[in-house]
Amino acid sequence: MSKDPLYERLRETSWRRKLTPDEQARLSELLATDSELQSDWENEAGLNRALAELAPVPVSNNFTAQVLAEAKREAAIFERTRRPAMNQVAWWFRWLPKVAVAAVVFAAGVISYQHVQENRREEVAHSLSAISQIPSVPNPEVLEDFDAIVALGSNPPADEELLRVMQ
């Protein structure tokens, strides 16, 4: 049976709550023109009433008190077991900043030492480079007549004018 969309919507609404007067009026208009819908609605309404009139399941008067007592009991147990673990955590929180600072200082020291070493290596490298540019020391045999050669160097320079005249 294909049902009117409005009827379907009102029917689904009636499952959850009572229809408003306006909704009831619109439903009545629909049912007035369709006997099949009317029969279907009678069953729907009957079931709605049956479900609405189901008695609430009995709940003990001290239900809330029992729940609270149990919740407080479990909370107290949880607090007792949590404390040793929390002490351990507190210990870490107390020492962790100090360890972190020490680590930073140590790292700074290491970096500084490495920097100094690097600079020294550079200086040594520069020194070596400078030394490598100095010409090699000549063979000692070359220096045998060194004194004579030096003595030659102390003579006055040649008289070039005289040389020209003589030529």
């Binding site: 499952w15 959850r16 009139e53 189901l54 239900f63 809330t64 029992q66 729940v67 919740a71």
Partner: protein, 202 residues
């Protein structure tokens, strides 16, 4: 503080801060609807109350994980349904065990006290009770998801979107579950359903 905050969400915020009074208020407000759902899922009144208490203990333990944006009723019914499904699965694996085994651990707790509702029942009420039993029996025979959908749908508190979230399916699937469940109930209860009167017909 936002004035649009759901009252239940406001209470849960206080519970998160350790307010036992707020927790008691929530328990008082939801114990009946939770009990209605749990009983109709488990079909055992004693075990239903034990499990209903566990639902609220779980609510308390999970308070840290509760988000204000979530509707409290949806959240608590989801917890209730999940615990019921766990219990149903546990029963299917160990049919001899029951929750009463754990009850001995709490023998120091006060016994449950109920109002005596049957003491003053008029004859019509007794007849009504008999018909009500028919409805309960018919509900009990439905598949769990259809039964749960119909039970949740009874209260005006939950929208179809809320019910879908609790069941873990779409809104259209939820309506389909309710429709199929209701069709079965109407077939079983047809002799008892009349427009305008609630009387047995043969």
């Amino acid at each position: 503080m936002s004035t649009d905050l759901d009252p239940d969400a406001a209470l849960m915020l206080r519970v998160k801060q350790g307010d036992w009074g707020a927790f008691a208020e929530l328990v008082d407000k939801y114990k009946q609807p939770v009990m209605n759902l749990v009983y109709r899922m488990l079909r055992d009144s004693t075990e239903a109350e034990d499990l209903a208490q566990v639902v609220f203990l779980q609510v308390y333990k999970s308070a840290d994980r509760y988000h204000v944006s979530a509707k409290f009723s949806t959240w608590v019914f989801t917890i209730a349904r999940n615990l019921c499904l766990n219990e149903i699965r546990r029963r299917s694996r160990h049919p001899a065990d029951s929750l009463e085994g754990s009850q001995s651990e709490h023998d120091d707790q006060p016994e449950r006290q109920y109002e005596d509702r049957k003491a003053f029942a008029a004859p019509d009420a007794l007849l009504h009770g008999e018909l009500e039993q028919k409805v309960e029996e018919a509900l009990a025979e439905l598949p769990e998801n259809q039964r749960t959908a119909i039970v949740l749908c009874r209260g005006e508190e939950l929208s179809y979107e809320d019910i879908a979230e609790i069941l873990g399916c779409s809104v259209s699937a939820t309506k389909s579950l309710i429709h199929r469940g209701r069709e079965t109930l109407k077939q079983r209860l047809k002799p008892y359903l009349r427009t305008g009167s609630w009387s047995k017909s043969k």
